[in-house]
Symmetry: C2
Subunit: 114 residues, 2 copies
Amino acid sequence: MDICSIKCINETKVRETVKTLPPKEDITQMADIFKALSDPSRLKIVLALLNQEHCVCDIAAICSQTDSGVSHQLRLLRTLKIVKNRRVGKIIYYSIDDDHVISLINMSLHHVRH
Amino acid sequence: MDICSIKCINETKVRETVKTLPPKEDITQMADIFKALSDPSRLKIVLALLNQEHCVCDIAAICSQTDSGVSHQLRLLRTLKIVKNRRVGKIIYYSIDDDHVISLINMSLHHVRH
DNA sequence: TTAATATATGAACAAATGCTCATATGAGGA
DNA sequence: TCCTCATATGAGCATTTGTTCATATATTAA
């Protein structure tokens, strides 16, 4: 029980756990990666690139989304270094840039399939 | 090139990748789990419970959030079977219910620390 | 240079999200 | 019983998010 509070708080346990928490910045970064994968249409794009690299309009065809929508999502994924791209003439091919993300996705896939 | 379209689409690659995509339902479920971990304050709650079980007001103290806010988040996490609880009198203790989530978090922690 | 095409970008808007405040529930003690 | 405390819940709101539409950029071909 805290002297300065009416609340029922187990100070020992609280202090113990506070010590184990990662720094705020790490938590923010972790959340950012999870957020990138938290939208079904964006996740679908990443899943598509898991198989092989694709150009923007192929991704749009695969995911039944507009080119513009896909482009917006790819920018976000690029910012987070989840995907990278290479240009061949007019066409820009996207692929996965981050192996950890592949592991994260495989693990969650395994999870939803029990 | 598609006969019915002006767009430059590599049909073979598109069809190949479409075959590898998980069913829509699986994608939705995966996205739901990632979404649960995509908010920093909610992620912090899960990180706190990773260490040991805690009652609601201890979680609030650890995470510098209001009891009410924590309670709302815990309900969401409960719905997704990420956390579970047990009652001891007036106090309700929450803990992690899903080992896969622990793996997901450890992997993303490892990721942000290169 | 001009036209055509692949991709990117900005603005706008509807929908979803997280937080706060007020109130409700449910358990223990007086 | 009544009061207190731990937790839960609903409504309201400001903010964020995903999508669409129009337009811009960049590359190739004519």
